[in-house]
Point group: D2
Chain length 363, copies 4
């Protein structure tokens, strides 16, 4: 985890701005011999792609991924597999609509990284937010698809469990429903409420926050480490590194603060010869190490800062001003954060799988 | 951040179990020429030390820190300063009361790392929890005291803002109050409620969770980075790596999920020629980079898993059993997490200060 | 330094095989505001490019570099500068001559990585050597050109000082001569001998080794560190990571083994108020830290293993066989290692410049 | 490899100055379940310990190692084993003879790090050389002993093959001889010459350089990686990080520069169904990956800079001066570098063993 690299043994380095010729990711440390082609990656990018409903930005990004290296096939090895060398993933930018950026060049948009970027670097690629653009997350999704292939025994799924003030009813949870609505919402009842709500938000030129929940099933007990390579720590870092994330929790999360010890601890028993827990307040992680239960994490996503409602701000010349952000923005960027959160979870888990195998010799 | 090392340019490596001869930390990458003696570190350890009220464990840990290396003084340089080489901090264990561990050797305590540790390593130092012991956090506090000396312009303070279901009234916030009660609570009114509540929890042999808030003032705009060395990401990792942490949020945190964009974004204006913000929902971080506002983070701490209430569990031999954890335990481990959270914040910020200076040449 | 990443604060990640669509490098951690365009990089690639004389491989590699990210210009900032974000450098492969690889697919070429690659990964991209191809060094040269821009105060030059058994006469050293002959040789007298010698080697289908010397002038005293971030250690790693390198020495190097302490130590004096040394056996590095003298390193390059002389080997099926490597190979790969060695030196020095600035606040 | 940490998955962090209370090493990432006690480490420290003959410094350093953490035994697990958590190794300094340092405080000793240290840090622990002291290498030897336990299938041995101008006759090589003379010399004939030679050097108050050769047997084909985690690169870094090292070579090393391709490449054949090579010019490494042959590296060590022969130098006040280094110094520090070189080789190999297992699942 250094500037633009994430991970330890499985390392992802991303590059590119939304208005340059391309963005991309280098996935390093992938085991050899794993079947991998563009077809394994593209569906995940398609899930994240904007413009699929009226509830996401209407920008057109083809987001076609190309694998530039790290795979091999010939007339004997006919199914393309990884070689163990760096897998370069390239996504060309196609929708660089030439546009008038003079306003955002000179005015800092509240809630955006404009002001802090310039404070840090003294220079800022104001076209589309530079590296702070949500477009960088396409690279994460592509890299996450590779990570999934490394740990096929693990199923990683995410859903939107809260939009603005509206939470789902967990009793209605259906994974099938998640892929049937434009919100990745697991509760068909909530979908109706959210549609109406988000339409009104969108029409008012405003935006709204959300909560994403990610669940990984099939992780055996033993991944992670007790101190500074903790699984919960790495998941927290991974999710909090997603643009607009403002909070992360594992298992019971902040609700655990209000619990007593006798309520919180997941008791253990044996069922059919297997270790079982009575509940999962720990979110599948005890002492930084996986317990074999589902790993459960939630991430709070703030509302998109790009809105049509006029906001008070300052200019680069330190004058007061007003700014609105025209353009094609997501009224609830949390929606498109769902596949990104899955990808980051996949990257963390695949890395820990390799780390654990390295130290202990067990998978 | 690798196994037992935290940080990039300022790197802390900790070692030691609660029942071995000593624990310690190596702080590497500290700038040279910074005044540093044991007296700069000990007060922070004393704040964290147990046994200071009936609300923390009655274990006696002297927690005297010794600096073994990395500092220098002679008859010319009479004030001891850092030399730029690794600073080794050693804390000897004095209270290794010999005790009967046979029960916890064979039974996994629910909520503890016992089961996951053994799943990972195949072996477990069951005496006191090994590396999973909260005792490791004394090393963090000692290292954090060094980090504070690197960035004296930054003030880092933390407080307990929720105990069990009881939150403070933020209108009563007083930093002076924080050091006047056994809870690090900033609200004198809440103290009374908490005392009574925690007494009843303690007497029932149970425990309770809490929320810690950490605030760093004086960080200039520009520390951090936009993608995988984000300030918020690193704070999330730092806090989530503290034992018993289950959630982390920055600024408005999970509350941001329920906000609209027009509510959430902190507007900017000029006051006396200086950049100001109307509020601080961002928690002082925009796009992973500090904005010059106070950096605000909160951490949810679960209730201590060591309780006297009998819990259902299994043995190493996969038999069902019951377990209670006798001994001298914290009824609310969140209290002692307060100085630990400060220390982790200090380590993250000092590291980012050096990283920023390295890349840009500015402090 | 992890799998395919080199460096600490300035980090280069390379990817790509010689027979894929492209190779490339991501340069991360570059300071912002540094003027940088393709024109600053291309000349270094052109120096390394094969096919420029009969003494290097006749493969045609256009080696045109494109900067995909990390730079910015507009109508105000008219000279393109770095933004502090990752600089992606892409070089498309143009000469993927379709060729019959059946022989090298099944037979391990002695001196090549064929056998070890397959032992490691269980799979091998045999077309052009995969990652073991010298083509990867084009990425290093491109990244090194970026590194040079970070430390313009340092001049980094290299030369071939030995070809096969023939050494230069150091009294004839002329930097101007280095760019006037196809060998990067600083001794015009040696050039004549080498031409004749290498012609005979080439005609016999054989190859020959060489020694490259790299000199960096203008490094101030103070870069590096005393233990595991030593300047000499990092230079050794950097040069030894170049394909075909078999030895590295700093200053007097192996000759120092035969010296006495009174001969070896470079004495110090004052000249015109400045610190001077009587000689430079240390190669500009004392205790891992630069002394202000020229930094001098040498690298031994083994002869190209791809030769037309038949060699005894085995097949993948563990049968004995004979192999010759047809194709367009360098009779002395040490020649083209000269710009690569310069690039690696530049990367090490720029990284240490940033590290030193980070820790001490001084440039 | 960052400041004071060496390694990737197996990470060693050292601390301490020769004149502080203690030095030590933290070995992190060690697999669990490996038998380890002080008795496994102490013999290696004893080999390195000074004062064992008239040919090494007469300083008395007891060099008793204590394991502070990371191991476990009880009444069931009676043989102490590693737990997978950080192993802290502490060596107390006992011979801190109080001495007059006023001369070396003010005068830079040529060949020492005095001047560069002060240029870097602005401050210098002049007593005994601070971190630049050879005493730090005791930590490496202790950590190396742990590394050996991780890869018991590999035998790592080193010897002194050249002292000053006197090389061994390789036909006389006997490993048994290495432990029978004060030079770790494998050639009984050479021992006689060296004794006489080093006596004369010592009596004249001078010192002399040396070459150390390290050989690792039993490494299977497949450890290492092709680009920036090359086995040869890491060995070069490891050996060059030893104080006084000025050169490193692998296999034929610098001699390979004078060879032709047909001479250099080690041909392959099958013997009794096993892969064999006709010679070992590659030093057991092809393309950065082990070939299954012995791994062979050599390191050039410069003569000790601490000599009684007066040398010209300057003072901190930039005045010219003369300096001699009184005290108890090694006339040939290369001798004591032999166990250090073995230790560094062990650390590199154990790290690569874990890395290879992590990525590929194979040992």
């Amino acid at each position: 985890m250094s500037w633009n690299t994430f991970g330890r043994l499985l390392r992802v380095t991303t590059f590119g701005e939304s208005h340059g010729p391309a963005i991309g990711a280098i996935v390093d440390g992938c085991p050899p011999g794993i079947p991998l082609s563009e077809d394994d990656i593209q569906p995940y990018l398609d899930r994240r792609r904007p413009g699929q409903s009226r509830f996401t930005t209407q920008r057109r990004e083809a987001d076609r991924v190309r694998i530039l290296s790290g795979v091999f096939s010939d007339d004997v090895i006919t199914e393309q597999v990884t070689t163990g060398t760096p897998i370069a993933l390239l996504i060309e930018n196609t929708d660089q609509r030439s546009k008038d950026y003079s306003e955002i060049r000179d005015r800092y948009r509240p809630g955006h990284a404009d002001y802090t970027y310039e404070a840090k670097y003294g220079i800022r690629d104001y076209r589309g937010g530079g590296r702070a653009s949500a477009r960088e997350t396409a690279c994460r999704v592509a890299a996450g698809a590779v990570a999934r292939r490394i740990i096929p025994q693990v199923e990683i799924r995410a859903a939107l469990v809260q939009m603005g003030p509206h939470r789902i009813n967990r009793d209605n949870w259906s994974w099938a429903e998640v892929d049937s609505n434009p919100f990745f919402c697991p509760d068909a009842e909530a979908v109706k409420v959210w549609e109406e709500y988000l339409d009104s938000i969108r029409k008012s030129g405003d935006s709204v926050g959300a909560v994403v929940e990610v669940i990984a099933s099939g992780v055996p007990a033993g991944w992670g480490a007790p101190v500074y390579a903790r699984l919960d720590q790495d998941i927290a870092a991974a999710l909090m590194s997603i643009p607009a994330a403002k909070g992360v929790e594992i298992g019971a999360g902040f609700a655990a603060a209000a619990m007593t010890g006798s309520e919180a601890a997941d008791e253990m028993y044996i069922h059919d010869g297997e270790v079982r827990f009575t509940k999962n307040n720990s979110g599948g992680i005890l002492g930084g190490i996986s317990s074999g239960q589902d790993i459960i994490a939630r991430m709070a996503v703030k509302p998109t800062s790009s809105i049509l409602v006029p906001r008070r701000t300052i200019t680069r010349g330190r004058e007061e001003a007003e700014v609105i952000t025209k353009g094609r923005h997501d009224p609830c960027v949390g929606i498109r954060a769902v596949p990104v959160a899955e990808a980051m979870m996949a990257l963390v888990l695949a890395d820990h799988y390799l780390m654990h195998r390295g130290q202990t010799g067990r998978g």
